[in-house]
């Protein structure tokens, strides 16, 4: 039945709204349409004491979907640490969490996925993903000041994946550049498991005085409910439930959402101005499940009811049904609850910004959402039923593959013939090579706050009118999570925090996006359950509460589940932004040391994948040590002892040193006394809790003393200088050659050109 949902629906609509209708008359097709099981349907009928009509069923379907209702993840998410001294608005209370950064200011931030829409229409899917997360931030009353994008694609030798990657990058740049919010960081990772199911996660960060924090409430009987912004079309009807369907490409129905960043910019400015007027009671964006979810959530927060007259909703197309109006996901729309009698002030503001608005309803003192069209009541549902989606815990079973991959024995691997060749191959591979061909298309400096743009461990923004700075990073390491879900997820948190620490910032709070396969597959559910535990473990140890996030399940294509991909967005705070640190080597003669272990492990490394074609091993992290390491590094930076700091991640020590050398355009001479260590483990081994630092030679005693104090080893491994990188007699790289390979690697892969080597 290859029919557009609206049409299919309209036939059944009559059937369902028929008062003689009994529960059994609902067909499987209709249930599939709203992504609902028959037992859920029966449950709804019990709750209402009657059969739901079509509009009501659609509303339930959307709000009980994973995207809005977190059916499969809510019990898990409850276990995450969400409290802390700095938390002003905790996870789940509002559209995004708010964190105190001192000086009476707060930072609001959140990450969200737009994976399924991007699989269908990558440019618009990514663009509207950015638009959606920006709305979550200014809904809080904050001015958005930064964006980050975390991306995953299948192998770039496949032209479809190259197309998806290019279009997604284009869409992100298009939206962010036009609204004038700098994109200052992100990730770009290639793995076969994302073939046909790319991941597009976008994070937005905003800033505001504590006193301006705005709640997304519909409260106060009689207060008018105003819809501002774009006219409503048939866009993305079923978007919210669509995100829980396993094959988005085939089930793509409705109309693809096309974003309008220009309109969003007008919404940002006008909404911030409207908030300043004091005439706004509550502000709520329209995201997944459109009017339904925003009205329901806003009323639910204040325990009020809400009554909508959908005939007042301005439309872009003719013939929209009440069902479509309630579920349309047309972009760039906001719901404003005004103080009764002050609507005119708000209309004046929106009008000046050239925005259209309609009064579409009012707040009531019961606890129902009522939808009216003409004289007819199209829906009446107690709000609590819509917001309390049933939750499920699926059978969990430890995946069979784990024993096999974890029993990996490095002795069976032969060390590479040419370490140099291997190093160059790694440096030019898409996951390690410079991402500049991506972020060169992003405006990174609009807003005049960018102190460290894309290209470092974390980006740093100054906070105007204060001495402070904030640092931001997104990190995920799906291969490690695949090999050991709990440890891998903890490692992602640790890496995000470590990246922020390397700039001299104290990690203070985190957001997360859980991108997983189908939760109904027991081994996938195991990955989800374990990963959430791992995030909790690390956030507790590192004292970085989770302030919010998003869950994206059913990421699979065919039978292929994506690698489990929790993405962590980390916020760090610098009390004095002048004390920041960067990753590039600075001066001839500076010394280099490693904090933490000098060599890593082959487990789950990029080297093992690229040079040996293996995804294997059992990663490990000592979280208590990680915390001490981060404290040591922070103290070294705040004491002003370091010239550079760079976290050791993919590609191990070689890549870490190479990146710092390229950034500073200066060579190094390493002298490492590593007997008993395989050369590949030494140079390409990975593992958490390692930072390469550089400093003036005369500071070594102080550096060492601070490391000692935190019970962290600091090992001197070399000196900065020259135009070559001497890897302790094992191999030598020429800085020029290295820079070219690293700079060109990704651009070449993305354009589909065959590389020379």
């Amino acid at each position: 039945m290859e029919l557009y949902c609206g049409i299919l629906y309209r036939e059944d609509y009559e059937l369902l709204t028929d008062s003689t209708n009994t529960e059994t008359s609902v067909t499987d097709d209709v249930l599939r349409e709203v992504s609902m099981t028959r037992s859920e349907y029966d449950h709804i009928a019990d709750l209402l004491g009657r059969a739901p009509n079509g509009v009501e069923l659609g509303m339930f379907g959307a709000l009980w979907s994973e995207h809005c209702g977190y059916q499969h993840s809510r019990p898990l998410l409850k276990t995450l640490p969400t409290e802390g001294d700095r938390i002003l608005i905790g996870a789940g209370e509002e559209n995004a969490g708010a964190v105190d950064i001192g000086d009476g200011l707060a930072v609001v931030f959140k990450i969200e996925s737009h994976n399924h829409p991007s699989a269908v229409e990558p440019f618009e899917g990514a663009a509207t993903g950015v638009g959606g997360i920006i709305r979550d931030i200014f809904t809080m009353g904050a001015r958005p000041i930064a964006l980050l994008d975390s991306l995953r694609f299948g192998d770039l030798s496949n032209p479809r994946n190259r197309y998806l990657a290019q279009a997604v990058i284009g869409g992100i740049g298009h939206y962010g550049n036009c609204v004038g919010i700098p994109t200052i960081g992100g990730e770009f990772v290639i793995d076969n498991s994302y073939d046909g199911n790319p991941l597009v996660n976008a994070m937005c960060v905003g800033i505001l005085p504590h006193s301006r924090i705005t709640r997304a409430v519909a409260s106060g009987k009689g207060n008018p409910v105003i819809l501002v912004g774009a006219d409503t079309g048939r866009d993305g009807v079923h978007g919210a439930t669509f995100a829980s369907l396993e094959n988005p490409q085939e089930s793509a129905r409705g109309v693809v959402q096309v974003g309008n960043p220009f309109l969003e910019k007008l919404l940002i400015e006008s909404c911030l101005e409207a908030l300043e007027s004091g005439a706004v009671v509550g502000l709520q964006d329209l995201g997944a499940a459109g009017l339904t979810s925003s009205a329901v959530e806003a009323a639910d927060r204040s325990g009020s009811g809400i009554r909508l007259n959908i005939d007042s909703v301005s439309r872009r197309t003719t013939g929209l049904t009440p069902y479509e109006i309630m579920l349309s996901e047309s972009q760039e729309r906001m719901l404003v609850v005004a103080e009764l009698g002050r609507e005119a002030e708000l209309f004046e503001i929106f009008d000046r910004w050239g925005l259209h608005c309609d009064i579409i309803g009012e707040v009531t003192d019961d606890t129902d959402i009522v939808v009216i069209s003409g004289q007819k009541e199209e829906a009446r549902i107690p709000i609590k039923h819509l917001t309390n989606a049933p939750t499920y815990e699926y059978p969990v079973s430890r995946p069979d593959y784990l024993d096999q991959v974890q029993s990996f024995d490095p002795c069976l691997i032969t060390e590479p013939n040419s370490l140099k060749q291997c190093a160059l191959e790694l440096l030019g591979s898409p996951n390690i090579a410079s991402k500049s061909c991506i972020y060169q298309t992003y405006d990174q400096t609009v807003g005049s706050n960018t102190v460290i743009p894309c290209g470092s461990d974390a980006a740093v923004l100054r906070v105007k009118d204060t001495r402070r700075g904030i640092a931001l990073s997104t990190d995920g390491n799906s291969r490690m999570v695949f090999l050991n879900p709990r440890i891998g997820a903890a490692m992602a948190v640790a890496e995000a925090a470590r990246n922020v620490v390397c700039t001299g910032a104290l990690p203070i709070a985190a957001t997360n996006c859980l991108n997983f396969g189908s939760p109904t597959v027991p081994s996938v559910y195991f990955q989800l359950v374990e990963a959430v535990k791992g995030i909790g473990d690390a956030c507790r140890e590192l004292n970085t509460p989770i302030t919010g996030g998003n869950v994206s399940l059913y990421n699979e294509s065919g039978d292929q589940q994506i690698q489990p991909t929790p993405i962590i967005g980390m916020l760090g705070l610098l009390d004095d932004v002048e004390k920041r640190c960067n990753l590039g080597f600075v001066d001839e003669g500076d010394r280099i040391a490693v904090l933490g272990s000098v060599h890593g492990k082959l487990d789950g490394s990029e080297y093992l994948k690229i040079a040996q074609g293996l995804t294997a091993g059992n990663p490990h992290i000592d979280l208590a040590f990680e915390r001490r390491l981060q404290s040591a590094c922070l103290e070294l930076i705040t004491e002003g002892l370091l010239s550079s700091a760079h976290d050791v991640s993919e590609g191990g020590l070689t890549v870490c040193i190479a990146e710092s050398a390229i950034a500073g355009q200066i060579g190094v001479e390493l002298n490492i006394n590593a007997i008993d260590v395989r050369t590949d483990e030494l140079w390409f081994g990975e593992g958490p809790s390692r930072i390469v630092i550089s400093y003036k030679p005369e500071q070594w005693n102080r550096v060492n003393a601070i490391a000692d104090k935190h019970e962290v080893s600091a090992t001197e491994i070399g000196t900065i200088g020259g135009k070559a990188l001497e890897f302790a007699g094992d191999f030598t790289l020429c800085l020029n050659e290295l820079t070219t390979v690293w700079n060109k690697g990704l651009g070449t892969a993305l354009s589909g050109a065959v590389s020379d080597d």
């Binding site: 269908v120 229409e121 693809v256 047309s330």
Partner: protein, 89 residues
Amino acid sequence: MAIFNVAVTVRLQTEVNDPQGLTIQSALSALGFSGISNVRAGKLIEFQIEAASEDVAAKTVEQLSDNLLSNPVIENFEYAISTPTSNTR
């Protein structure tokens, strides 16, 4: 082999949101051009193609219009082929 002139027109599907069209429309009314409605913005891609016959050319044009010049998820395309009458312009 002959050379054919091709013009491919790409339009957003009617139900798809057209921010460009909407912005132009409101600019026009702000400029005092009244009575203008349903503004939609599309693309025109023109080129020359060398092919054995018009049919062969049409086949190629169809293929590349569908895959490259337009995005079937949100757009429709249309094309016209003609033999160059002269080589000016």
